[in-house]
């Protein structure tokens, strides 16, 4: 695990919801984790163990109560929102269980969004987005809206959106949770294939042992702590 350069380094990460109130919930407690560049890591554990919270915190979409998160040498926790947002836009892609596509945009436009945010000229963005959708086998669904696509197709759009701007890291929260086994495997194949091509680091939160079996590393959690890494 340490042979490759460490891309993500998490030290003493804690997350307490309703901090400072009588209703405190300790979601994460003293998490230490290093993830090498180009690796695929899965986080497993029972429901409510803090998997998604961990992913949210280390991906920078949520802020930890304590601890340090360093990605590619930059301390994410110390960044201001604007900078952290820029950092996400350039370096990260997201895949969520519920797809989280923008329902009013077509598949192509959904995939274009990260490119446009990164200032890619619209014409070029369109070409790249089309290419990304072709890569996930949706070349004939470019102008369909999410509600006109099946679950598997939607997740492929999400995958295309997560990789279209060539991020260093892809965060996937239960990416196959809403899919049947066959489709789930197909989607995972795509993610892993992209990782091979681009040396992207992939972090997957999952319940599915089959998926975990296909990743380089597995982290198991329980009650907000890592119990096996």
């Amino acid at each position: 695990m340490t042979k490759k350069k460490t891309l993500i380094d998490v030290q003493g990460l804690s997350k307490i919801y309703n901090f400072g109130t009588d209703n405190e919930v300790q979601a994460l407690s003293g998490i230490n984790l290093q993830i090498p560049q180009g690796s695929v890591l899965s986080i497993m554990g029972p429901s409510g163990c803090g998997k998604t919270t961990l992913l949210n915190c280390i991906s920078g979409i949520d802020t930890p109560t304590e601890g340090q998160i360093t990605i590619d040498g930059q301390d994410l926790a110390q960044m201001k929102d604007k900078k952290r947002t820029d950092f996400r836009a350039k370096n990260m892609g997201f895949i969520f269980q519920t797809f989280n596509l923008i329902p009013v945009l077509t598949a192509l436009e959904n995939v274009e969004v990260p490119l446009l945010i990164n200032g890619i000229p619209p014409k070029r963005a369109r070409e790249i987005a089309e290419e990304a959708l072709r890569n996930v086998g949706l070349q004939d669904r470019l102008h369909h809206r999410p509600n006109e696509l099946s679950g598997g197709q939607r997740q492929r759009v999400t995958v295309a959106r997560s990789v279209v701007h060539k991020p260093k890291i892809i965060w996937a929260d239960e990416p196959t949770g809403n899919l049947d086994t066959k489709t789930a495997n197909e989607v995972l194949d795509i993610i892993l294939a992209l990782k091979e091509d681009r040396d992207t680091t992939v972090v997957i939160v999952t319940h599915d042992q089959n998926i975990a079996d296909r990743t380089d590393h597995v982290v198991r959690m329980d009650s907000g702590r890592i119990i096996e890494a």
Binding site: I61, T85, D86, R88, T98, L101, I102, L105, E112, I117
Partner: protein, 1055 residues
């Protein structure tokens, strides 16, 4: 009115049954209320504004009615009607009267009609100018009389029965003694014991003693001097037992439930028609109803009520939007409820229970606020009137009192409640039709393509409606024929005068034409869209949705074009100018706004696409992409929001343009240097010609007077002429209902007015029709002046009860000869060479000769050389001042000159125009202010929409933030989205308001009236920018809320 409580009872009973028999739905529905209080507050606020506006408008109407009722009651007391004794056309006399025997006959005839509370005769002398001096004999108290003073000779009994003052008054016993009100005495600087001089019919000054002064209510017509009838006998030569005025009392009060003015008039007219007194004409005048009608309460109230209805529609639309959003938010749970066996009706009941709470709270609060709104309106209006009265220097103060009728509160509460609950129920039915699977999976309901029996039923309904639309257009002639037949063969329309009937005929035709075409195009479009939707394969290889968009866009465009150019449709252009066409105007306005909103809703995707790719800022691209795409994806709510905005802006635009046009017209009159818009107008009562000529010469010699023109008008009658529809035979044909509201004889009465040569050739008053169309107006006037025996018809010949549509009655044509009976009993033949245009009779700036028959001085000299000591003859001197002079001092000088000649009435046109301008300006401001309430619904509706959107899009916003959208980008995206909606709403309302006014102006101009539409671009622009800024201001809160959302919301799944 009784239908509302009945409907309320039915609805409440239905809701009660639901609550009682459906405990599950009741519990869930009630719990939903408190589930998200922000929702509850928004729904309540949105719908209470409509209720407030309804009650505000009704309160204003109530207060006006109540105040005018009070004034009328105080003014007339027990008096309900007069019978005026007027000279018979062939028996001119300065003071026509009936004698005791004739009075008794008249009274008997009246009593045979109904039991009156009282009938009393009295003599009423219209006083010629008077002067007033004190006991000391000094003439320092001389004052010009500028009022229509009357000297009333009445018995103590008549005073007791018909007293119009708040105190008991003793009519002086001695002849030569008079009494007057304190207000009149103040105005005249008179004291008890003073001698006043009143002119008799020979112009002699008769001294009378002011016995005492009594206190008077300020609202009452105080310009009366009361005296014993013997004064009139002794000093004015009127024999005892002669009367010229019969007072009649029906029963006290003018409240509609107690009093029917029209029926009173009918009864008295029947009594008058039953007797024959050949020496005089008896003219019936019902005073209270006429006074109330004259106040014009209804037209002012209708404006506010129409606006409040509009606001209620906007409020209802807001409810539709909010409930749809609530349903969208709860889609998942509704889907689950359906999945586990809850019926559609139960889902509907859930929402009904919830909406009942919203409706009751909003209607109650709305009614309370409405009282406040009404109070505010009444006070603003009172200030407006008071300001106007003070500026005019008139001591009269309109005592407007705040008053709310119980029925108004009931109407507002129940009306608002029903609008809310019925709208909610309709929306709930639609919500309950959700697709279970899609709801659970969070997908949009896909279009169903199955052809079920409902599909066929709706298709047949659309086909039928299309057919009805077509049938309306092609059936107009048949309906007109049917109506004409009905008028002559049945009682239908019998109560209408011929003019009213023609107006009904034309407005009905216009409705059938416009609504028929609209219905046909709309339902045909829907039908096509429906059929294409269910086709297995859409034609031309396009997608079903695209095909539907194309069809509906084409339909909306067609309807828009039809509405914008509705004045070009047969019948419609003409009907637009009729007073009965208000509903047509409102309907077409609604259609215009709705279909523009529809057009834009369908095209908003394209608009967004174009803007996204046209704007050069690359960094803006992702913001634009989301900002413009949401409105196009959520068509229903976009459509409703645009209508909400569009409707209110439409009204504001129309009002602004109309205000501008009225101000322009009044301004032109004020600033005109031509004599037609004189600074001063003198309207003496009948008098001898020489006196007026001499006065005119004296006035012309005053420094600063540029021009003076004298116009004379005398009574005349059309002889040997019968209007086709108003012959006695025609009245008999109307079965048992004579045309009581039309006195055919009155229509033969007209006047003969003389236009001066200078005025005719300088001003060339506009003509509507000429005997020979190839002639110029100058030629026609040259003929009028140079060929004695020629006549122009005045404007009233276009609309005198029998021809409101702007056409000369078919019996009179240019080129015809008219027989005119003059007061000397001679009949003269005059040749009609043209008809004056309507605009010559416009307010204040109108020409003194605009009505009746217009002849030249040469013609008058030939047919009636004078002297003109004829009752009913009047003169008008139009006086024009030179530029840059001191108007006030010249006016004073002219008044003094007039006084020397005992000429009494001076009318300062500039002052009147100034007052009218200020009054109109204030009224328009009030209307605009009232509309702001409606705008509140529009703007808050937009804010609520955006606020709901932030909640609805939580996950998407989180996702966008995760992907790298800065919070500022989310803020910008939301503000851009609301900007787009606000701007499009403003564009729709503004442009349609302008188009609608253009349509009206075109119709007016096509009908030969010259109406210039001037758009107050700057004022309009400022107004609309202000509206935009307010809308955006309201949208900042939701936009900020959205921008502050954490990216982690992406992983928060809906509750």
């Amino acid at each position: 009115m009784s239908i509302l409580p009945a409907l309320f009872g039915i609805v409440i009973t239905g809701i009660g049954l639901i609550m009682y028999r459906s405990p599950v739905e009741r519990k869930m529905g009630l719990r939903n209320i408190g589930r998200r209080w922000s929702n509850t507050v928004m729904v309540v606020i949105g719908s209470l504004i409509g209720a407030s506006m309804i009650l505000g408008a009704l309160t204003l109407s109530d207060s006006l009615s109540y105040s005018f009722d009070q004034i009328t009651e105080t003014e007339y007391g027990e008096l309900d009607a007069y019978i005026d004794v007027k000279p018979a056309p062939d028996n001119p006399t300065p003071l026509p009267t009936i004698n005791d025997a004739e009075y008794r006959e008249l009274k008997q005839s009246l009593l045979s009609q109904r039991q009156w509370d009282g009938i009393q005769p009295r003599i009423r002398v219209q006083i010629s100018p008077y002067t007033l001096t004190s006991d000391s004999g000094q003439d320092g108290k001389l004052k010009s009389k500028e009022y229509g003073l009357v000297l009333v000779g009445l018995t103590q009994e008549a005073q007791d029965s018909f007293g119009q003052t708040p105190v008991d008054i003793d009519i002086p016993d001695n002849p030569g003694e008079v009494i007057m009100s304190d207000l009149l005495a103040d105005a005249l600087q008179a004291s008890e014991g003073d001698t006043i001089y009143v002119n008799n019919f020979d112009g002699e000054r008769i001294p009378l003693t002011l016995k005492y002064i009594y206190p008077e209510n300020p609202s009452v017509n105080k310009y009366k001097i009361l005296t014993n009838p013997r004064t009139l006998t002794q000093y004015f030569g009127i024999p005892t037992g002669q009367y010229n005025n019969i007072l009649i009392s029906v029963q006290g009060g003018v409240a509609p439930e107690h009093y029917d003015g029209k029926q009173v008039k009918k009864d008295i007219e029947s009594a008058v028609n039953a007797i024959n007194i050949p020496t005089v004409t008896l003219s019936v005048r019902e005073v209270k109803q006429e006074a109330l009608d004259g106040f014009g309460i209804s037209s002012l109230s209708i404006i506010f009520i129409a606006m409040s209805i509009l606001a209620s529609i906007t409020g209802a639309l807001l409810i539709v939007n909010l409930l749809n959003m609530l349903a969208e938010e709860r889609k998942y749970e509704l889907g689950v409820l359906r999945a586990i066996g809850m019926k559609r009706w139960s889902i509907t009941k859930l929402f009904i229970v919830e909406s009942t709470f919203y409706s009751i709270v909003s209607s109650t609060l709305g009614s309370l606020f409405g009282l406040g709104v009404g109070y505010l309106l009444v006070n603003i209006l009172l200030n407006l009137f008071t300001g106007l009265v003070e500026s005019s220097g008139n001591a009269d103060i309109f005592d407007m009192q705040f008053h709310v009728a119980r029925t108004s509160v009931v109407i507002a509460f129940i009306g608002a409640f029903l609008i809310n609950i019925l709208t909610s129920t309709a929306v709930s039915f639609n919500i309950a039709r959700l697709d279970i699977v899609n709801a659970i999976r969070g997908l949009k309901d896909m279009a169903k393509k199955r052809r079920t029996w409902k599909w066929y039923l709706l298709t047949i309904l659309l086909l039928t409606l299309s057919f009805i639309g077509l049938a309306s257009v092609f059936g107009i002639d048949s309906v007109r024929h049917h109506m004409e037949m009905a008028r002559t063969s049945t009682d239908t329309f019998a109560s209408l005068s011929d003019g009213e009937f023609r107006e009904k005929l034309d407005t009905t035709s216009a409705y059938m034409m416009y609504m028929g075409i609209t219905l046909f195009v709309f339902t045909f479009g829907l039908l096509l869209a429906r059929i294409f939707k269910t086709l297995r394969k859409a034609p031309l290889g396009v997608r079903h949705t695209t095909m539907q968009t194309v069809i509906m866009t084409a339909t909306a465009s067609a309807l828009l074009v039809i509405s914008i150019f509705m004045d070009k449709l047969p019948y419609v252009g003409k009907a637009l100018l009729l007073s009965g066409s208000k509903v047509l105007l409102i309907t077409s306005s609604l259609i215009m706004v709705i279909f523009t909103a529809m057009l834009i809703t369908y095209g908003i995707g394209v608009i967004g696409q174009v803007m996204t790719y046209l704007l050069p800022f690359r960094r803006l691209r992702p913001i634009l992409l989301t900002a413009f795409r949401y409105p196009s994806a959520n068509r229903t709510r976009t459509f409703i929001t645009l209508i909400m905005f569009g409707l209110t802006v439409f009204m504001l635009t129309m009002i602004s343009i109309e205000k501008n046009m009225v101000n322009d017209e009044l301004g032109q009159m004020r600033n005109a240097t031509v004599i037609g818009a004189s600074e001063l107008m003198i309207v003496p009562d009948f008098s001898e010609n020489e006196r007026i000529d001499s006065l005119a010469d004296d006035i012309a010699s005053i420094d600063g007077v540029r021009q003076i023109q004298k116009f004379m008008s005398m009574p005349a009658k059309l002889a040997d002429f019968k209007y086709k529809d108003l012959t006695p035979t025609k009245q008999i044909e109307m079965k048992n209902k004579p045309l009581a509201s039309v006195n055919a004889d009155d229509l033969y009465q007209t006047s003969l007015s003389v236009i001066t040569d200078d005025y005719a050739m300088q001003q060339l008053p506009k003509l509507y029709e000429k005997e020979d169309d190839t002639k110029s107006d100058t030629d026609v006037y040259a003929e009028l002046l140079n060929s004695p025996g020629t006549v122009l018809l005045g404007t009233d010949f276009r609309n005198k009860g029998f021809s409101p549509d702007g056409f000369i009655p078919p019996q009179i044509h240019s080129g015809d000869e008219l027989s005119v009976l003059l007061p000397d009993g001679q009949i003269h033949k005059l040749k009609v060479i043209g008809l004056l245009s309507d605009e010559q009779a416009s307010f204040a700036g109108g020409d003194p000769f605009a009505t009746g028959l217009v002849i030249s001085q040469a013609t008058l000299n030939q047919i009636y050389p004078g002297p003109y000591v004829i009752p009913g003859t009047s003169y008008q001197l139009l006086i024009d001042y030179a530029d840059g002079v001191d108007n006030d001092s010249i006016t004073q000088a002219i008044k003094q000159k007039s006084l020397d000649y005992n000429i009494q009435v001076l009318q300062d046109v500039s002052q009147i125009l100034g007052q009218v301008t200020s009054m109109m300006d204030g009224l328009y401001k009030l209307i605009q202010g009232f509309l702001v309430f409606a705008l509140l619904i529009g703007t808050s509706g937009l804010a609520i929409l955006m606020l709901r959107s932030t909640n609805e899009r939580r996950q998407q916003i989180g996702m966008l933030r995760s992907l790298g959208y800065q919070s500022g980008m989310i803020l910008a995206s939301f503000i851009l989205e609301s900007s787009l909606l606000a701007l499009l709403g403003i564009l729709i309302g503004g442009s349609m308001g302008i188009f609608s006014m253009q349509s009206f102006t075109r119709a007016a101009n096509d009908s030969e009236q010259t109406l210039v539409m001037t758009i107050p671009w700057l004022a309009l622009f400022r107004l609309l920018v202000l509206l935009y800024v307010i809308s955006i201001f309201f949208s900042i809160l939701p936009a900020r809320q959205a921008s502050k959302m954490s990216p982690v919301e992406a992983t928060n799944y809906p509750e």
